[in-house]
C-alpha cells in the first residue's frame, strides 16, 4: 500500500453533532487523503457515531481517559503517515477543494499554508457579522497591505485556528511539538516557523468553515488567552525583530506589534472590568438577599411593635378601667363611711332609711316582674300535676289531637345532678386533667373560656337573625381552639373527640328515664298519636337521640327538634313554628307538654298549640334539693358526701334492681354501701398513687373489698395493680411466727379476745394442740388450761413461756407452718414484687405484722408491705408501725385521735359481717400430691360454722346491695369528681347513724347475723341484743353490766320507744368519747 499524500488529523472531543460533518468534509477532498481521528474519551455519543462510520481511508482511535486537547493532537499527528499534514478540529469543516489548493501551494516550496476562513454557526449557516470575523478581516488586511508575515503575525494570528494549518511533515518534524499553551499554541507554532525562516503561504479563498457554538474554546477564558498572547510576544518578538534587515520594514513590524500590544492591553482592561462587573453583580445579588432579609426582619419587627403597642394600649385601658373601679370603690367607701357616721349619729333614722331603701328596691323588682307577667297575652294556661292527669286530659281531647310534643329534660328524663352547669364544670376539670392542667384554678380558667366561647357563639347566632342558640359541636371546636391553640389537625380532632365523648358519658350518667313518662308515651303511641320531642338544648339532634335511645326511649319518639340545630328556641316560639311547618299539622291539633312554664306553656300557646305545664311535685322538690346540695358542697365537711348520696338515691330511684323487698339487700344498699364505697375510693386513690406490684385482699373480710375493687377498675377502666385473694387468718400467721419460739408478745395476742380462756386461748390462737401442753401447764401451776388469765403478767404464764420444754414443742410446729405459709404466698407471687399492698377490714393489722416479722429481717425476702385497712385500732400493738412496711386505717385510724371516727370500732361485727366471704375461716395449709399448697378451711360441721352457713344467704343479700350501691356511687363520683377526703366525713356520719342510732327493725334483723371468731375457738359472735327493760333502769349496776357485755351496746335502746332511751345511749356514747375509748 502506498503512503497517502495528505493526512488529515482530527482530534475529537464531545462534538457528536459536528464530528461526522468534519470527517465527511475531509474524506470529500479530491485527492488521496488519510483521515486520522482520535477521540479523547468523549462523554457524549461522539465515539459511537465515529465507530459507525465505514471508510478505508478513515483511521479511528480512542483514549481510554481524557488526555486533553494538546496531548490528543500530538497523538493524532504521531499516528499520521502522510507527507503533508492537515489539522481539522472536530467542529470545523473543509471546503471540498481545500487540500488540493493547499497542496499546490506547498509543492511550490512553502512549509505551511492557510486560507481565508468562513464563519458559520451551529447549524452551518454563514455568519456575516461577528467580532471574530472583524478581527480576521483586520488581520487579513495587514497581510494584504504588507505581504510581510512577520508584520502580519505581530499584528495577530491571521490563521485564527489550527484547523487552518496545512503543512509539511518536514516542518512538523522540525518544530514539533506544539507548545503547551491552551489558547495560543498555534500562534506559537507560526512564530517559531518564522524564526526558523520557514515559508508560509496563503490562499485568498475561504476554504475553511470555522464554527461558532456555545462551547468554542475562544469563549472560555478571554483573559487567559490575552495573557498567553502577551507572554508569547515577550518570548518571541526580540528574536523576530532582531532578524530585520530594513529600518522601514522594522518600523512597520513595530507598528503592528504596538497595535497588537495596545489591543491586547485594551482587551485585558475590558475583561478585567467585565470580571469586576460580574463579581459586583454576584455580590449585589448576595447582598440583595441580605437586604431582603433585613427588610423582612424590619417588617416583622414593626409588626411586633404594633402588636406590642396594641397590648400596651389594651393594658392601659385595663389600668384605666381598674383605676375607674378603684375610684368608684373609694367613692363607695366614702359613701359607706358617711352612712356609718350617720348611723352612729342617728342610728334609728339611718336604719329606717336603709330598710326603706332595701324594701324599695325589692318592691321595684317585684313590680317589674309583675309588669312582665301582665304582658303575657291572654292565652289558655293548662297545668297538670303528673302523667296520669295528662293522660286524662288527652283522653278527653283525643279526637282533636294528632300529635303530642314533649320537652325532653325534666319532662321525659330527669337529672340526678343539678344544676346542669355541674356537668360542664366536670368536663372542664377532666379536660384540664387530660391536658396536664390539674387543679381548681386551671378548671376555673377552662370553664371561663367555655362560657366566653358559648357567649360569643350565641351572640353570633342572634346577630344572624336566630335566637341565642348554638350547637354543641361548634362550642367544643371553638373551646378546644381557645384552650389548646397551635395543635396539629390530628391532635385537635383527638381533643374534640375527647371532650365530646366525656360530655356524652357524663350526660348519660346524669340522666335517668322517668318510668311514668315512658309508660305514657307507650300508651299515647298505642292510641295513634304522633310523638315529637322539642328541646332547648345545645346538644345536637344526634347526641340527644343517642341519649334518649340509651335511656329506653328508642322507638317511642317519632321526631326530635333541637334548638341547636334550628338556631331558634322554644322560649321565642320560633322553634314551635318550625316544628309545625315541618310536620305540616295545624297548631290546634298539637299539644306541647313541659316543665318550664314560659317555654313549654306560654310560648306554644302563643303559636296556637295547647301548652301544658307539667308541674310534678316530686321533680320540683328534687331540683330544689339538688340545687341546694350543689350549692353547699362547696363548703366541704359533710356536704360533698351528702350531695353525692343525693345523686346515688336519684339514680337508684330509676333502677329496677334496687326494688328488692329484702331487708339485708336494702341495708347493704343504703347503709353499708356508701361507707364501703367510700373506703374503696380511698383505696383506689392510694393504689393509683403508690402503684404497688399487686394488691392482696386477705380472707375473709377482704373478699367483698376485692370484688368492689375489681368492679371499680371495670367501671373506670383504670390501670390498677392486680387484685389477688389470699386465704389467711390470724391463726395461720401466728403459727408460722412460732418458728422462733412463742414469746410473750405473740402469746398475749390470744388474750385480747374478750371471751379469752387463758392458756387455752393462747394455744388455740397459735394453732397448737392443747393436749401436748397439759402436763407442762400443771407443772407451772395452772389448774386447768381454760383458766381465764386477767393479769397478763401472771408469773405462771411468764414461767410457762420461759420453759425450754414448751419452746421445744412449739418450734417444730412453727417451722412447718412457716414453710407452708411461705410456699402458699410464693404461689401467689407475693415475694416477686418489691412493693405489695394488703387490704383487710382491720382491726390491728395482725396478719401484716406477723408476716413482716416472720419473713422480714435482714435476710428475709419479704417485700415492702403497705397495709390498707377499713378501720385500724390500737388495742394490741399501740401506735407502732410494722417493720418493713406501712399501715393505714382509711375510715378509722385510732392513731389520728379523731373521736368522730370511732363508730366502726363500736360495732366491728357489723362491718365484718358485711364484708366477709361465704367460705369458712382458714385454719391452716396442706401440701397436695403435686407439691402445691392449698388452704385448709374450717369444717362445715363445726357448730359455729353451721350457724354461719345459716347466715350466708343474708350476707349474699347484704353484699348484693353493697355492690349495687358501688355502681351508682362510682357514677356519682365520676359526675362530681369528689375525692376520698371530701367524702369521708359523710361516710363517718352514716357509720355513726348505723351504729349509734339504729332503728328497731335494723336491730332486730341484724341480730340474726352470726359468724365464727378468728381466735382459734369455736365461739360464735352474734349481734343479737339482749333486751333491756324499764325495770333495769331502777338497778343501774345491773343495767351497766348488761350493756357492757353487749357487742352492740346501742341496740337495746332502739327497743324502747322513748326519747329517754336514746338520750341514755347518747350519754354512754358521750362518756366513752370523753374518755377517748
Amino acid at each position: 500500500m502506498t503512503s497517502p499524500l495528505v493526512s488529515v488529523v482530527i482530534p475529537s472531543y464531545n462534538h457528536a453533532h459536528y464530528v461526522v460533518e468534519a470527517v465527511a468534509s475531509a474524506l470529500a477532498q479530491d485527492l488521496e487523503v488519510e483521515v486520522v481521528v482520535r477521540d479523547d474519551a468523549s462523554t457524549d455519543d461522539s465515539w459511537q457515531i465515529l465507530s459507525a462510520l465505514s471508510d478505508p481511508r478513515l483511521r479511528l482511535s480512542r483514549n481510554e481517559t481524557n488526555q486533553g486537547a494538546h496531548a490528543t493532537l500530538h497523538q493524532a499527528l504521531g499516528d499520521a503517515r502522510g507527507e503533508y499534514l492537515a489539522i481539522l478540529d472536530s467542529d470545523d469543516r473543509y471546503a471540498p477543494q481545500r487540500l488540493k489548493h493547499c497542496l499546490a501551494v506547498l509543492e511550490q516550496g512553502h512549509d505551511l499554508v492557510g486560507t481565508d476562513i468562513r464563519l458559520i454557526d451551529a447549524d452551518g449557516a454563514v455568519v456575516d457579522a461577528h467580532w471574530w470575523r472583524d478581527a480576521f478581516v483586520g488581520l487579513k488586511a495587514v497581510w494584504n497591505e504588507t505581504h510581510d508575515w512577520v508584520a502580519t503575525l505581530l499584528e495577530g494570528n491571521v490563521f485564527m485556528t489550527t484547523s487552518n494549518f496545512v503543512f509539511s511533515r518536514q516542518l512538523w518534524e522540525e518544530l514539533a511539538p506544539f507548545s503547551a499553551q491552551r489558547y495560543v499554541h498555534d500562534y506559537d507554532f507560526l512564530l517559531r516557523a518564522l524564526i526558523h525562516r520557514k515559508r508560509l503561504g496563503w490562499i485568498d479563498e475561504p476554504l475553511l468553515d470555522y464554527r461558532l457554538h456555545h462551547a468554542n474554546t475562544i469563549s472560555e477564558q478571554p483573559l487567559e488567552a490575552n495573557l498567553e498572547t502577551s507572554a508569547l510576544l515577550r518570548e518571541h518578538v526580540p528574536t523576530l525583530l532582531a532578524a530585520g534587515r530594513s529600518a522601514r520594514r522594522d518600523a512597520t513590524r513595530l507598528r503592528h506589534l504596538g497595535s497588537q500590544w495596545a489591543r491586547t492591553e485594551r482587551y485585558e482592561q475590558e475583561i478585567l472590568l467585565a470580571l469586576r462587573h460580574e463579581a459586583l453583580v454576584i455580590k449585589d445579588r448576595d447582598w440583595k438577599k441580605l437586604v431582603d432579609d433585613r427588610e423582612q426582619w424590619i417588617a416583622e419587627r414593626d409588626h411586633w411593635i404594633v402588636e406590642r403597642d396594641d397590648k400596651i394600649a389594651e393594658r392601659d385601658e385595663q389600668i384605666a378601667e381598674r383605676d375607674g373601679w378603684i375610684t368608684e370603690r373609694d367613692h363607695w367607701i366614702i359613701e359607706r363611711d358617711q352612712v356609718i357616721d350617720r348611723f352612729h349619729c342617728y342610728p334609728l333614722r339611718s336604719a329606717l332609711r336603709i330598710c326603706a331603701g332595701k324594701i324599695q328596691w325589692r318592691v321595684n323588682a317585684a313590680k317589674m316582674r309583675l309588669q312582665r307577667l301582665w304582658l303575657v297575652p291572654e292565652v289558655p294556661v293548662i297545668r297538670v300535676s303528673n302523667f296520669a292527669a295528662l293522660r286524662r286530659w288527652v283522653e278527653v281531647r283525643r279526637a282533636r289531637l294528632s300529635a303530642l310534643s314533649f320537652d325532653v329534660f325534666d319532662t321525659l328524663i330527669a337529672r340526678v345532678i343539678e344544676p346542669p352547669e355541674k356537668i360542664i364544670e366536670r368536663v372542664a376539670a377532666l379536660l384540664g386533667a387530660h391536658l396536664g392542667l390539674d387543679g381548681p384554678e386551671h378548671s376555673a380558667r377552662l370553664l371561663k373560656a367555655r362560657h366566653e366561647v358559648e357567649r360569643v357563639l350565641r351572640g353570633a347566632a342572634h346577630a344572624d337573625g336566630g335566637d341565642h342558640e348554638c350547637h354543641h359541636d361548634d362550642i367544643v371546636a371553638a373551646w378546644v381552639d381557645q384552650v389548646a391553640p397551635g395543635r396539629s389537625a390530628t391532635e385537635r380532632q383527638t381533643l374534640i373527640d375527647f371532650v365530646a365523648a366525656t360530655e356524652h358519658e357524663l350526660e348519660r350518667l346524669a340522666l335517668v328515664a322517668k318510668p311514668n313518662a315512658r309508660l305514657f308515651l307507650q300508651w299515647a303511641r298505642g292510641v295513634g298519636l304522633r310523638i315529637i320531642a322539642v328541646s332547648d338544648m345545645y346538644l345536637g339532634e344526634r347526641q340527644l337521640s343517642a341519649l334518649l335511645d340509651d335511656l329506653g326511649y328508642a322507638g317511642l319518639i317519632d321526631r326530635i327538634y333541637v334548638s341547636s340545630e334550628h338556631r331558634v328556641g322554644k322560649y321565642s316560639g320560633r322553634l314551635f313554628a318550625e316544628m309545625l311547618a315541618h310536620e305540616g299539622v295545624d297548631p290546634d291539633r298539637v299539644a306541647h307538654v313541659g316543665d318550664n312554664f314560659h317555654s313549654d306553656s306560654v310560648a306554644p300557646a302563643r303559636q296556637g298549640l295547647a301548652g301544658i305545664f307539667l308541674d310534678e311535685r316530686y321533680e320540683r322538690r328534687r331540683r330544689r334539693r339538688q340545687q341546694a346540695a350543689a350549692e353547699f358542697a362547696r363548703n366541704g365537711g359533710i356536704w360533698p358526701g351528702r350531695m353525692l348520696t343525693e345523686i346515688v338515691t336519684e339514680r337508684l330511684r330509676g333502677d329496677e334492681r334496687a326494688k328488692r323487698d329484702n331487708f339485708f339487700f336494702q341495708y347493704g344498699l343504703e347503709t353499708l354501701g356508701p361507707i364501703f364505697s367510700t373506703f374503696i375510693l380511698g383505696l383506689v386513690e392510694r393504689m393509683q398513687r403508690e402503684q404497688p406490684g399487686a394488691v392482696y385482699f386477705l380472707a375473709r373480710d377482704g373478699e367483698l373489698f376485692r370484688r368492689m375493687y375489681q368492679a371499680w377498675a371495670g367501671f373506670s377502666r383504670l390501670e390498677l395493680p392486680p387484685a389477688i385473694y389470699a386465704y389467711a387468718s390470724r391463726r395461720v400467721v401466728a403459727s408460722a411466727a412460732l418458728a422462733d419460739g412463742l414469746d410473750y408478745e405473740r402469746a398475749v395476742v390470744g388474750l385480747h379476745n374478750p371471751k379469752q380462756r387463758g392458756l387455752l386461748s393462747i394455744l388455740k390462737t397459735c394453732g397448737l394442740d392443747p393436749a401436748m401442753f397439759t402436763e407442762l401447764a400443771h407443772e407451772h401451776g395452772f389448774t386447768a388450761l381454760d383458766e381465764r388469765i386477767d393479769d397478763w403478767d401472771d408469773p405462771r404464764l411468764v414461767a410457762f413461756l420461759a420453759d425450754e420444754r414448751v419452746q421445744a414443742l412449739v418450734r417444730p410446729v412453727g417451722i412447718e407452718a412457716k414453710a407452708l405459709l411461705h410456699d402458699y404466698f410464693a404461689q401467689l407471687g407475693f415475694f416477686n414484687h418489691p412493693r405489695v399492698a394488703i387490704v383487710d377490714i382491720g382491726w390491728n393489722g395482725t396478719i401484716q405484722r406477723f408476716m413482716t416479722s416472720t419473713f422480714g429481717g435482714e435476710a428475709g425476702d419479704c417485700p415492702h408491705i403497705s397495709g390498707y385497712y377499713f378501720a385500724l385500732v390500737t388495742g394490741m400493738y399501740g401506735a407502732a408501725e410494722p417493720g418493713g412496711g406501712s399501715i393505714e386505717g382509711l375510715i378509722l385510724d385510732r392513731r389520728r385521735g379523731a373521736p368522730q371516727e370511732r363508730a366502726p370500732s363500736d360495732l366491728e361485727e357489723l362491718f365484718e359481717q358485711g364484708a366477709r366471704a361465704l367460705h369458712a375461716t382458714t385454719t391452716g395449709y396442706r401440701r397436695d400430691a403435686e407439691g402445691k399448697v392449698a388452704p385448709v378451711l374450717k369444717d362445715d360441721t363445726a357448730p359455729d360454722r353451721k350457724a354461719e352457713l345459716v347466715c350466708n344467704p343474708l350476707i349474699e343479700q347484704l353484699q348484693g346491695g353493697i355492690l349495687l350501691c358501688l355502681e351508682h356511687f362510682y357514677a356519682a363520683q365520676r359526675l362530681t369528681g369528689f375525692s376520698f377526703d371530701e367524702l369521708k366525713p359523710y361516710a363517718l356520719a352514716l357509720a355513726e347513724r348505723a351504729v349509734v342510732y339504729p332503728t328497731l327493725r335494723e336491730v332486730s334483723e341484724l341480730g340474726r347475723l352470726a359468724h365464727t371468731e378468728d381466735f382459734g375457738h369455736d365461739d360464735l359472735l352474734d349481734l343479737s341484743a339482749r333486751s333491756i327493760r324499764w325495770r333495769d333502769f331502777l338497778r343501774p349496776r345491773r343495767l351497766m353490766r348488761k350493756v357492757a357485755l353487749l357487742p352492740w351496746r346501742y341496740a337495746p335502746f332502739a327497743r324502747l320507744r322513748t326519747p329517754f332511751a336514746f338520750a341514755l345511749a347518747r350519754f354512754f356514747h358521750l362518756r366513752q368519747a370523753g374518755r377517748g375509748q
Partner: protein
C-alpha cells in the same frame, strides 16, 4: 324510692347536727362530720327560699289567678 331510703342515705341536716353534739359538748369537736351551725341555718334558709320562690310555679299561680279574676 321510699322516703325511708332517702332518710337513711341522705341524712337530714338537723339529724347530723344533733349526732355530732356529743363530740361538741365534750370539746372533742373537729372536722369530723359536723355540718356547722351557721351552715345548717343557711341550709334551711336556702331550702326555704327555693320552696317559696319556685319561679315556674309562682308565675303559673299569678297568671292563673289573674285569668280567674279577670
Amino acid at each position: 324510692m321510699s322516703t325511708g331510703r332517702r332518710a337513711r342515705m341522705v341524712l337530714p341536716v338537723w339529724k347530723i347536727q344533733l349526732m355530732h353534739l356529743p363530740f361538741r359538748f365534750n370539746r372533742l369537736g373537729g372536722p369530723g362530720f359536723a355540718p356547722g351551725l351557721r351552715a345548717v341555718v343557711r341550709w334551711f334558709v336556702t331550702v326555704g327560699r327555693f320552696t317559696l320562690f319556685d319561679r315556674d310555679t309562682l308565675k303559673y299561680r299569678l297568671i292563673h289567678w289573674r285569668q280567674m279574676m279577670w
